[in-house]
Amino acid sequence: MSDISLSESEATKPQKTRLQIALRKPGFLIGVAIIGFSSLLAIAPGLFAPYDPNFIDYNAVRQPPSWAHPFGTDMLGRDSLSRVISAYTVNMQMALLATIFALIIGVTVGALVGYYRGVADMIFGRFVDAIITFPFLVLVIAVVAVLGPGLINMYIAITMVGWVYYARLMRAEVIAQMGNDYSAAGVVMGYSDRRIIFRHLLPNAITPVIVYWMTDMALAILLGSSLGYLGLGAQPPQAEWGVLIAEGRNFITTAWWLSLMPGVAIVLTGLGFSLMGDGLADLLRPRG
């Protein structure tokens, strides 16, 4: 009897353990901390930047890191730390805006073609094959070349190419979920397709997409700063990590901090997103 009561108490234990397990993982916590702080810097850079990022001081050109300028100053005497911090706004915005529309479009299209299959799915399949044959960066640069440089056009370009990856993932996951009888049960219960797709299948299928989204935000920052570096994304004097690295390129042997510090910011933010995605994968995995 004691065995029975034991297993019963186990079964009725409150189900908060998953969050507790996730929170106990240092990686997830570090990831959340990095992204949380990065978001704070992005929202209110003025609170953290010691100087005006665009204040030019010809008396303090290319100074090495010091107490007054922890990240040194650039070729126009602007405070490098303030510029890296103020770049958070635009770079974190990239992470969000370059991916969120791709996420929404991709999830919707993927769920629909996965659910209905048929001709639309075949056309989609060929389209995906065509898109993923090209390297991502080449495609995005091609679209930017057509639309013209600038942040908005860059978001449009990344979204136009990026949604395909979300859709592909979502489609596969929806098809896998349809193997479970609850989707058929929804049909025989007389629910509409929209209800089955968006209320039943989508929440069960979206976990890998969310995890991919986290990595994709890191990639979006990388891509955005690559375009900034190439002069196709953010335009100087806008402080943006890729732009900052490009500005420091000519002085890489004499003023290394100009390129290094924005690079560190890119790595750190990317790491944050990856760690957070990893933790979310554990947190969101459907319970058996």
Partner: protein
């Protein structure tokens, strides 16, 4: 019961799936009817088309394959009915439960949400009434402390309990017909009996017809009034349970009955029908059972026997049916 006008009439139902350019005739020319409060058994081995037949009735198969024939529900053909109209029949008038209780509930929604969702779709009850009805249904299917379990997720229930929840959801809108696709196969034996008893007592109480798909002849014998035996997508024998199982005429039914262990001494080999069913991709021109049949003649290999009435409610698809007396002994 038999004199009554049937609520569901299936005639010449054919379902064909197409895989890689090959047509797979999963269901062929299946016809049967179910009266109000009648329990019909659909038996056959795996792949004989039982489940596909059931899924074709509610229009699940037509999404993946080609379905022809008529499915008349209270007089109207639902096989050709558009989805939008069919939605009002699904769940409200005809409900279905599945074999695998572990996956037939949405793991992310609470049991209460899934129960009230059906009620919201098919009744005019308000929020509070839906909740009361949900508790009442859970209570009805034998889930203890129903009210407190509404907020729990499917993974907090055992297999048998989930099947009870599934039944509660299916029956919440008081349907007139329940399609049960091997509802007890995934459960252990003691729970199987409980779930069957539950389905039957609820069917009796609600005057609800049931089509019970199973491969367990014992279950059929205990629970059904009529039975249809399927083989390779076709009904090979059909009639009242007492007659079909008591005095089977089709050699396949005879074989099935012989495979049920009865009074066998320990450590003896159990009987099984020799051979395997033909692949759907390569069905023979003649009778699909011919290669495994002991009564086979030349004719069986070249022509397909039709399902013909041998007595009033008894149909057999065989050129050389087993004689009634002989079958009785088998």
């Amino acid at each position: 019961m038999i004199d009554q006008k049937p609520i569901l009439e299936v005639s010449n139902l054919c379902t064909t799936f197409r895989r890689g350019g090959v047509d797979l005739p999963a269901v062929r020319d299946v016809s049967f009817s179910v009266g109000q409060g009648e329990v019909l058994g659909l038996v056959g081995e795996s792949g004989s088309g039982k489940s596909v037949t059931l899924r074709s009735i509610l229009g699940l198969s037509r999404r993946y394959g080609d379905v022809t024939g008529e499915v008349r529900w209270l007089g109207q053909d639902i096989a050709s009915m558009p989805e939008r109209k069919l939605r009002h029949i699904r769940g409200r008038e005809i409900a279905m439960i599945f074999q695998e209780p572990m996956t037939s509930l949405n793991p992310l929604l609470t049991v209460g949400m899934q129960l009230t969702e059906t009620l919201k779709a098919h009744t005019d009850l308000n929020r509070a009434a839906r909740r009361d009805r949900a508790i009442e249904m859970l209570d009805h299917v034998g889930i203890p402390s129903a009210a407190s379990r509404l907020g729990e997720f499917p993974h907090q229930f055992s297999g048998g309990m989930r099947q009870r929840v599934m039944i509660a959801i299916a029956l919440a809108a008081s349907p007139k017909l329940l399609l049960a696709d091997e509802p007890t196969t995934a459960l252990d034996v003691t729970i199987q009996a409980q779930i069957l008893d539950l389905i039957l007592s609820l069917a009796d109480e609600m005057q609800m017809g049931v089509i019970l798909v199973t491969h367990d002849l014992g279950v059929v014998a205990q629970t059904c009034e009529n039975v249809a035996v399927m083989y390779a997508g076709r009904v090979v024998e059909q009639g009242a349970v007492r007659q079909v199982l008591g005095a089977p005429r089709h050699p396949y039914t005879v074989g099935l009955m012989r495979s049920v262990p009865q009074n066998v001494p320990p450590r003896t080999q159990l009987y099984s029908v020799p051979g395997t069913p033909p692949s759907l991709e390569a069905l023979p021109v003649g009778c699909a059972f011919a290669s495994r049949c002991q009564n086979r003649t030349e004719r069986c290999l070249t022509a397909r026997p039709t399902l013909d009435a041998i007595t009033d409610d008894r149909r057999v698809a065989c050129f050389n049916p087993v004689a009634a007396e002989k079958a009785g002994a088998a």
